[in-house]
């Protein structure tokens, strides 16, 4: 309680200070027109674009980027964003992280929202990317915010937020039919119809995707899968209703834990994952209310979980004066989970209903000429595992002129423990009667991040813009498996070595991201980025350094770069060619990786035909740290036909 007392006092002051000033504003309507014409005014900066005027490292993916990238799923689309690491683990799994901490266990500090609905699963603190099958043509934009977003989005928006925003039904009227297939994604089809009924505008859609298996040296892997999804979005004036349902069949390679010889059994299994959601959103000018219900039902070989999440959010913006707005909001989030235990994984029931209450408030101040913008705010939330958490930030933006702006930010963010870290008992077998067990720790504290960011943006002309972000992240109480102090039990002829989770690591991450957009000619545009990251994590005093810190450091490649050339060719052909590069990592286990993708398309009378090639350099390559379930990514191509009418 002591820790949140002071920030609360600060906010009380902010509100008090805000009051009298609002009253002190002169009433200009009492002046005559002649007098008004003599007032010297200062023009506000140009209408803010999505990126300009934002004191954070933000990238926006537009529908045009989506069309021209040739990507058919979200992970491939995100490869165009600086500072993001996308690793395809096998045909149906991706690990995606921002600013470090990649790898299957550690990609847990990124929050992903689809139309304001969180798809971050508290189960392991990540995202089931294979189950987020949005119709790419219906996306209005994707905002990617690198760096902490805890003040607005709460716990788990530690080093980034991905906000996927779909189009309003009025922008998706009529039919969309698309289909295609290729070498890796064997077949895909989408059918969408947008119409009107009374005062409602709506769209309904269904889609199906079928993916082949990844590459492995033995060829005996089974990681092919498919997903069928359908849904709707309807809007009447300020009210939006939407929902989706999906079902996915996933072939997996499984290692079963057996408490009798041979202890470890590798088999194949076909898993079922399904789920759905329903969301209602009502939006006035100065307030909004949103509520949703989301169900994920996983029937996997090693895990059976049904998770229901209910969320309610109220947000309000109050203008205290023309130069000061206060935004505040209240959120309630409920998690209800039902798990059935397997030999491999047991999850203890939460001690109380798993609910999170939160409040945030942010004050935005603009100077008279709109050259300076200061935002200051914090989130305060309570969860049943770590109690009260607060996540403040201060952000300052300065417009040097119409072409240049700089910003700086200092923030604190937290990640609350996942269910696995908190209450899981995961037992991995070897071929001998010795089992390794990772045991959740009910006393785990939240991971903490203090971050400092600096940014610079310019748009030298209509044709050239660039963006630079520098960051220093200081992490504490990072949750790790404590390898140093295992407990060994011998019972019934076998041994179990138990390693607990603990807040045993800390460290620093420094990095830079630079990106640029250049329109060289009317018909030729260049997009490029380079990002650098250096991780230095170590064990906290009292924990044995079993090499975990170093292996965490090395799990993220230090350098990555990207360059896409977009050509508008004669006869309506559009051609995009992308060069991607990541340096080697994991002590050379994953070699440096240059890749080339292309997309060629042409539109004729409502028809669009596209041919795409991905990962053209090698016939297959490793993207993720090898494990039992990992496979390699194929060189791939596909053809896609789309019809709008």
């Amino acid at each position: 309680m002591k820790t949140i007392g002071i920030p609360l006092a600060v906010f009380a002051c902010l509100f008090l200070l805000g009051g009298p000033d609002a009253l002190a504003q002169p009433d200009l309507t009492s002046l005559s027109m002649e007098e008004l014409m003599n007032i010297k005014v200062y023009s506000a900066a140009k209408k803010p674009e999505a990126i300009w005027n934002t004191p954070a490292a933000i990238t926006v993916i537009t529908p045009q980027d989506i069309r021209r990238s040739g990507a058919t799923d979200l992970p491939d689309l995100l490869r165009m964003v600086p500072g993001i690491r996308v690793e395809q683990v096998n045909a149906h799994s991706w690990d995606i992280s921002i600013r470090g901490f990649n790898g299957s266990i550690f990609a847990n500090k990124l929050l992903v929202l689809i139309d304001g609905r969180s798809v971050y699963t508290p189960l392991y603190g990540g995202v089931f990317w294979e189950l987020q099958d949005v119709v790419l043509e219906d996306i209005e934009r994707i905002e990617i915010i690198r760096g902490p977003g805890g003040t607005l989005w709460g716990a788990n928006a530690v080093n980034g937020v991905i906000n996927i925003i779909t189009k309003k039904p009025k922008d998706t009227q009529g039919w969309l039919i698309s289909g295609g297939g290729g070498s890796d994604e064997r077949g895909f089809t989408t059918l969408r119809y947008g119409g009107k009924a009374d005062d409602w505008q709506y769209r309904i859609y269904s889609k199906y995707d079928n993916y082949g298996k990844g590459f492995s040296t033995t060829g005996s892997n089974t990681d092919n899968w498919d997903i069928t999804q359908g849904g709707f979005r309807a809007q009447k004036d300020k009210l939006t209703l939407q929902g989706d349902y999906y079902q996915s069949n996933i072939d997996s390679t499984v290692s079963n834990t057996l408490y009798a010889p041979p202890y470890l059994e590798n088999t194949h299994s076909t898993d079922l994952a399904r789920g759905g959601n329903f969301l209602a959103d009502y939006r006035e000018d100065d307030w909004s209310f949103k509520t949703y219900w989301d169900v994920t039902d996983l029937q996997l070989h090693d895990l059976n979980e049904r998770r229901d999440q209910v969320d309610m959010e109220y947000n309000r913006i109050v203008s205290l004066s023309a130069r000061q707005d206060i935004t505040w909001g209240l959120t309630y989030h409920l998690n209800v989970e039902q798990e059935s235990n397997t030999n491999y994984l047991i999850i203890r029931k939460p001690p109380h209903p798993d609910q999170v209450f939160s409040f945030f408030s942010q004050d935005e101040l603009r100077s008279w000429d709109d050259k300076w913008k200061l935002t200051i705010g914090s989130k305060f939330e309570h969860n049943i595992y770590t109690g009260f958490e607060f996540e403040p930030n201060v952000r300052l933006l300065y417009h040097i002129n119409e072409q240049n702006e700089v910003w700086a930010a200092a923030s604190r963010a937290v990640r609350t423990p996942s269910r696995l870290e908190e209450s899981g008992i995961l037992t991995a077998a070897t071929t001998t009667p010795v089992f390794s067990r990772l045991e959740g720790n009910g006393d785990l504290k939240a991971e903490k991040l203090r971050a400092i960011e600096l940014g610079y943006r310019n748009r030298l002309s209509e044709n050239i813009s660039s963006d630079l972000a520098l960051f220093s992240d200081y992490y504490d109480d990072l949750s790790i498996v404590d390898l140093g102090d295992p407990v060994t039990e011998h019972t019934q002829g076998f041994s179990v070595i138990t390693y607990p989770y603990d807040n045993g690591a800390q460290g620093e991450v420094h990095g830079a991201e630079i990106s640029t957009d250049i329109r060289i000619k009317e018909w030729w545009k260049l997009t490029a980025y380079y990002s650098y990251i250096k991780m230095s994590l170590k064990m906290k005093p009292g924990y044995t350094d079993a090499g975990l810190g170093r292996s965490l450091d090395s799990a993220t490649p230090m350098n990555s770069s990207y360059m896409r050339s977009s050509f508008d060719l004669p006869r309506g052909f559009k051609f995009d060619i992308t060069f991607r590069y990541t340096s080697s990592f994991y002590s050379g286990t994953i070699p440096s990786d240059p890749e080339v993708d292309f997309n060629l398309s042409k539109e004729i009378k409502g028809w669009r035909v596209a041919i795409s090639g991905w990962n053209l350099i090698d016939s297959h390559h490793k993207e993720a740290v090898p494990s039992l379930t990992s496979t390699q990514v194929w060189r791939a191509w596909y053809i896609k036909i789309t019809r709008h009418f």
Binding site: L17, Q25, P26, T29, M37, V41, S319, A322, L365
Partner: protein
């Protein structure tokens, strides 16, 4: 101790930030005041008790207008600032929908608006579209026209 220093610094930043904002007037505040006078100098044919000022695009102007105009009464009509394109008495937007004969449209004259704000030498002026004025069903006072820059859009 450290936390207290931080809080004090934050409060100081806040007070300073407020101080620097004092006394200067943003263009949106002046625009809102102009809109108030435009309403005063215009006669509409309908007899509704409310004068709807629609500001569907410029969020900042909408909020500022709300703050300085809402609740004010001109000629027996109460001003309401709304975020929509139809059922307007005044419409501030970059594009003008059709059927706006009885709407006081403010935006680019090139796009068919009746009035346009102009920033000249850091001072706010306004232009009137004479061609459009003849076709509208509004009665606009000559006092307003005297102060306007006249254009034919």
């Amino acid at each position: 101790m450290r936390k207290r220093t931080l809080s004090i610094t934050l409060i100081l930043i806040f007070i300073l930030s407020r101080a620097w904002g004092q006394g200067m007037i943003s263009v949106d505040e002046v625009k809102a005041a102009f809109i108030f006078h435009f309403i005063d100098f215009t006669q509409w044919q309908d007899k509704e008790p409310v004068c709807y000022v629609c500001v569907p695009q410029d969020e900042r102007l909408r909020r500022v207008s709300r703050q300085s105009l809402e609740g004010k009464v001109i000629d027996g009509r109460k001003i309401l600032v709304v975020d929509r394109w139809d059922h307007c008495h005044v419409l501030v937007a970059d594009q003008i929908p059709s059927m706006t004969d009885s709407v006081l449209t403010i935006g680019p004259i090139n796009n068919g608006s009746l009035l346009e704000f102009k920033l000249i030498d850091h001072r706010l002026r306004f232009a009137v579209n004479i061609g459009k004025l003849k076709k509208t069903k509004l009665k606009i006072s000559s006092q307003l026209l005297k102060l306007a820059i006249l254009e034919n859009g």
